[in-house]
């Protein structure tokens, strides 16, 4: 339960310890900066804006970090704050963290996502395109524009639609990968698979989708899941290992089906 007092009045002085790395290949290191008079009502990224304005005033390069919507939905912001992807609060993204959760005089450590498949490009900015590649392999339902049937022809039971929606809330931020000691992308892939595979529209391509996404996931160098559960702890949308279980199930079934699959015809050259 929150306090009912107004949180706008206090200000904080902080030490920011942040990862600086000028290029992909350069060796990075932590640097420390002081910021003062940060309103407790400001967001974490606004605090960084202020620090950056300070750096700019000293003609120093500001800290590069990814962000866009600043309301927890685009999945662009990506910082490990004091060792935890997206910071100390459960169920929120970096951009939704507000300064009232920090103490005056505190030192805050900021790092990029640390995961082999996400190389650092600069400072806090990493390359997350492998997540797009996984989607391109099978994260869709094949349907030509304009050829869809009426939306109400196939009724979808509410619990099924709700489960698909729960899974589909994933914002593709990659925090799950950053938190996982194996750098596994299973929660991300599991969420996408659970979204499409749960829906009747997605059934036709279920096996193909699951196999193709897992294949690209493996090729991109993501590790495998050994049930640490760190991913669900940091997921800003509250997606859980349940979706990984579904992925494992669907994958096993797809593998078996593939194994026994026969076209009923003689194979040329076989």
């Amino acid at each position: 339960m929150s306090n009912e007092t107004n949180a706008h009045d206090q200000t904080l002085n902080l030490t920011i310890r942040v990862w600086r790395q000028p290029t992909r290949l350069a060796k990075g290191s932590f640097k420390e900066y002081k910021v003062s008079n940060i309103s407790t009502g400001s967001s974490f990224l606004e605090m960084l804006d202020i620090l950056n304005e300070q750096l700019v005033a000293q003609k120093e390069e500001p800290i590069a970090f990814d962000h866009d919507c600043r309301e927890g939905i685009c999945g662009m912001c990506s910082m490990t704050i004091n060792g935890v992807p997206h910071g100390p609060l459960q169920g929120v993204t970096t951009c939704q963290v507000h300064m009232r959760h920090f103490k005056d005089g505190e030192t805050i450590t900021i790092e990029p996502w640390r995961a082999r498949p996400f190389p650092v490009i600069k400072d806090i900015v990493v390359d997350r395109t492998p997540l797009d590649s996984i989607t391109q392999a099978g994260g869709f339902i094949s349907i030509r524009t304009g050829s869809a049937i009426d939306a109400n022809i196939i009724p979808i039971p509410k619990p099924v639609a709700d489960r698909a929606m729960d899974a589909a809330e994933c914002i593709g931020c990659g925090a799950c990968v950053a938190a996982c000691p194996n750098a596994a992308a299973m929660l991300f892939v599991g969420s996408k698979v659970a979204h499409f595979n749960s829906l009747p529209q997605g059934k036709a391509e279920k096996e193909q989708r699951t196999l193709a996404m897992v294949k690209v996931m493996d090729e991109a160098g993501f590790g495998s899941c050994t049930n640490y559960g760190e991913c669900q702890a940091v997921c800003p949308k509250g997606n859980t290992l349940d979706f990984i279980a579904q992925l494992n199930r669907d994958y096993a079934v797809a593998k078996i089906k593939r194994f026994f699959q026969s076209t009923g015809k003689k194979r040329a050259g076989a």
Binding site: I38, K59, T145, M165
Partner: protein, 648 residues
């Protein structure tokens, strides 16, 4: 090139225009399609859907966005829902009704034929979205659920919890991803369009900056489709994402594309108030909250002052001392009065020094006390839980216990590049879709209709009209990249970048942006006057001079450089904002979101002037030192009668 404002609205009855037009559009033989290169700038609902659809048809498509993935376009942030005339609720909805509500909602300043087409394809959008796996809310019987939105008497809004934009965009993104996987679409993330390239008067390519390497590069194509979203960030603070910009659209304007109704801006009444000068963006609280929340301010300045001084809590203010001003002024619509009207009423209360947000005072209450007493906290949680959580996350206050504080904020821009019925701009070969064009919302957009328009343009209109243009140019192919036009445009973009980096002054791009935002909000915001706008034009000119003398862009071009990115965008805002003010100045009427204080009725309502202003104002660039010229596209209403909107 002459300035051609022929809207090319097809002949025939309104309801048959689109189908008969489509039947006559030229086609490209499937075998030849891959020989045509189409550039799509933007991967939001409009761009993403257009790129995916054109790719699937077999065209060779390149798509660009400035984020690190196409899935992050700002369409993702839309909360409330998308309209469609499905009439699944059997409450009397129809294509005509959706068309009429949208035209009326826009205060009769939109083009009839375009709006009709929008309503006509709205049902297909829902079909398409469901087929791509969008998990819309459903009833227990398994059929699609609907909710009501402002400005309508039927229930036609489809939604996916509070994340409708996200789910629709992920639908378009997955279709796009499929094409990228197949290889019909090439995706270029982290690429910012800096310029348009014309060859012999036709749009034949763009210039981009690779936001990682800094490489400035020309791309040749047979046609260019710009779907780069809205320009609300000209006000510095808005509900838009940080990167939203006018650059792409403005560059097109500078090459001769008409800019229509630039002053038409939507100010959304229920956003979380500004908390201080460290603020970087404003957060929307969905319109749906006004179904159960009551908007009020203290009825006297003294009470408001005591709240501000921390001596009074809202709960201490008695019923008699509360002014539920929307219910008082608009008894028949009450708290569900349309956006433009509700916003102005909030401003009025705060201008009267009855605002209560800490610091500035700029805020009023949105109070759920009565609804909670009537329905119980759990019912309210079920309806609005995620919004209440979001509010608490940002403000640290619990809206189940204390009323929310809200204030209007810039949200959407109805103005945009002028397009004809085919969504082609005044430059042949340049098409514009989504929020970046001006076409469908007139002077005020109804809730849940921007998502509809983005997808209508992207899935259904552009995939029919772009091929028609390509067929007309024939298989000559795009001009060679060796054409001097590309090299020249590249050079200019490089020079501009170098110039920005070389100034090395003392003002940060952000600080200058903030100054511009203040001018725009004060003088071209919710209430505009001749005097204010005239002053704003001068102040913007001065600020522009200051920018080019004193901006400080730290760092280099050949790396990720957020300062350089912002400086480029602010430089364009500094030119564009002047056109907005000029447009607002010359539109001597009040309509929709455009409120000129000189033009109001005795009781303070907007006063439209249909005799002199039933037209689209279209601005033509004349060169850097010459003021732009204002043209007009007369709006001819064949089907609807112009009427005064009343919500009393």
């Amino acid at each position: 090139m002459s300035f051609d404002l022929n809207a090319r609205v097809p002949a025939g009855p309104l309801a048959e225009k689109w189908s008969s037009h489509k039947a006559h559009l030229r086609l490209v033989n499937p075998a030849n399609r891959r020989k045509y290169h189409v550039i799509v700038v933007g991967s939001g609902l409009a761009g993403g859907a257009a790129a995916a659809s054109l790719g699937e048809m077999g065209f060779n498509v390149s798509c660009f966005c400035y984020q690190d993935s196409p899935r992050r376009a700002h369409s993702i942030a839309a909360q409330g829902g998308i309209n469609a005339a499905k009439n699944y609720q059997n409450d009397g909805d129809s294509v005509y009704r959706l068309f009429y509500d949208t035209i009326k909602g826009g205060d009769f300043r939109a083009r009839e034929a375009n709006v009709y087409r929008l309503a006509e394809v709205s049902g297909n959008i829902i079909d398409q979205a469901v087929a791509t796996g969008v998990p819309f809310a459903r009833e227990y019987g398994g059929l699609l659920d609907n909710r009501s939105f402002g400005g309508a008497q039927v229930s036609r809004t489809f939604y996916a919890r509070g994340q409708t934009g996200q789910q629709l965009l992920l639908g378009a993104y997955s279709a796009l991803s499929r094409q990228i996987g197949i290889g019909t679409v090439k995706m270029y993330n982290r690429h910012e369009m800096l310029d348009l390239v014309l060859v012999e008067g036709h749009a034949k390519g763009i210039i981009t900056r690779n936001m990682i390497s800094g490489e400035i590069k020309a791309w040749n194509a047979d046609a260019v489709v710009v779907c780069t979203g809205g320009y609300g960030n000209v006000f510095f603070l808005s509900t838009n994402a940080q990167g939203c910009n006018v650059t792409a659209a403005y560059r097109c304007y500078k090459h001769g594309a008409g800019f229509a109704n630039p002053c038409f801006t939507q100010i959304h009444p229920t956003c979380i108030p500004v908390h201080g000068d460290q603020q970087s963006k404003l957060t929307l609280m969905s319109e749906s909250l006004r179904n159960d929340g009551r908007v009020w301010a203290p009825n006297s300045r003294e009470l408001a002052a005591r709240v501000l001084a921390g001596q009074l809590k809202p709960a201490d203010i008695t019923e008699a001392d509360r002014d539920y001003y929307l219910e008082r002024k608009y008894p028949s619509f009450g708290n569900l009065a349309p956006r433009d009207i509700s916003s102005r009423a909030a401003k009025e209360a705060c201008d009267d020094k009855r605002g209560i947000a800490p610091g500035s005072g700029l805020g009023v209450y949105l109070d759920f006390r009565d609804a909670i007493n009537r329905l119980g906290e759990s019912k309210i949680r079920e309806r609005y839980g995620n919004l209440f959580d979001m509010y608490e996350c940002i403000t640290g206050e619990n809206p189940y216990k204390v009323p929310m504080m809200i204030f209007p904020a810039v949200h959407y821009t109805m103005g945009g590049l002028w397009v004809d019925y085919n969504l082609q701009s005044t430059i042949p070969g340049l098409f514009v879709g989504g929020e970046a064009n001006f076409s469908d919302h007139g002077a005020n957009r109804l809730g849940a209709s921007a998502l509809m328009q983005g997808l209508a343009d992207g899935y259904f209109v552009l995939p029919s009209t772009v091929p028609d243009y390509l067929a007309s140019t024939g298989l000559g192919g795009a001009p060679s990249i060796e054409n001097p036009a590309y090299k020249e445009a590249c050079e200019q973009a490089r020079e501009r970048t170098a110039k920005l980096l070389a100034i090395k002054g003392n003002a940060s791009p952000r600080a200058l942006h903030q100054k511009l935002g203040n001018i725009m909000w004060e003088k071209c915001g919710m209430a505009r006057t001749k005097q204010g706008l005239t002053a704003a034009i001068e102040e913007i000119k001065e600020l522009r001079e200051e920018f080019w003398k004193n901006v400080c862009v730290v760092g280099e071009n050949d790396t990720i450089n957020p300062e350089l990115e912002r400086a480029g965008r602010v430089a364009d805002f500094l030119e564009f904002s002047e056109i907005m003010c000029r447009d607002a100045l010359l539109r001597e009427e009040s309509c929709g979101g455009h409120f000129r204080s000189e033009h109001q009725t005795d009781d303070g309502e907007a006063k439209r002037d249909d005799t002199n202003f039933a037209h689209v104002a279209v601005w033509e660039f004349q060169g850097s030192d010459t003021p732009p010229v204002r043209h007009q596209e007369e709006l001819k209403y064949e089907e609807v009668k112009l009427a005064t909107r009343s919500y009393k």
